[in-house]
Symmetry: C2
Subunit: 103 residues, 2 copies
């Protein structure tokens, strides 16, 4: 069963680093995405904000990443048992260079 | 700028077929996803509901797809200018066979 999102985005707000009861570091962040995508052969402007969660050593490394351009891969899940809001669980994240034209 | 979701899901509620002012057919559907995904080396149960939109000839073809297992590819966008809710714009959809164990 597939559930894989690949997204280029700018890191927006970051939470304070927390730890699970088992001692696993967790960081939540807002990912701000803007791009052009094709629908029915027509190029359209797309924008969205996606809540994301990053755990383990990656959470420690990305604490000060606000404003950075990143490329992430991960899976979508509901935020909690009682919520239907989506959160992206980041499995892979890397820094990307912002081009001169902002793209 | 990447924005690509690949998702296996069951089609839940479907809207009535609508048409844009330009005459393009639009169908919205809820996609119900359940799977096991790996996070920090640990397998975990994942579930989510994702609103999705399908346009053009695909919308005509998938009007009676409630309950079907599908695999979709598309991009995420905010639902409207004023909303931060996400909607998946489906660019590709295909039927999948449900295994005997429901997976």
């Amino acid at each position: 069963m597939f559930n894989q999102l690949t997204l280029s985005a700018d890191v927006g707000e970051l939470s304070v680093l927390r730890y699970t009861p088992a001692g696993v570091p967790i960081l939540t962040m807002t990912l701000l995405h803007q791009s052009e995508q094709t629908e029915l052969g027509v190029l359209r402007q797309v924008a969205c904000e996606i809540d994301a969660k990053i755990t383990g050593d990656m959470a420690l490394q990305w604490q000060n990443s606000a404003g950075k351009r990143v490329e992430v891969k991960g899976f979508l899940a509901k935020r909690s048992l009682k919520s239907n809001r989506l959160i992206l669980h980041i499995q892979h994240i890397e820094m990307k260079k912002v081009n001169d034209n902002g793209s």
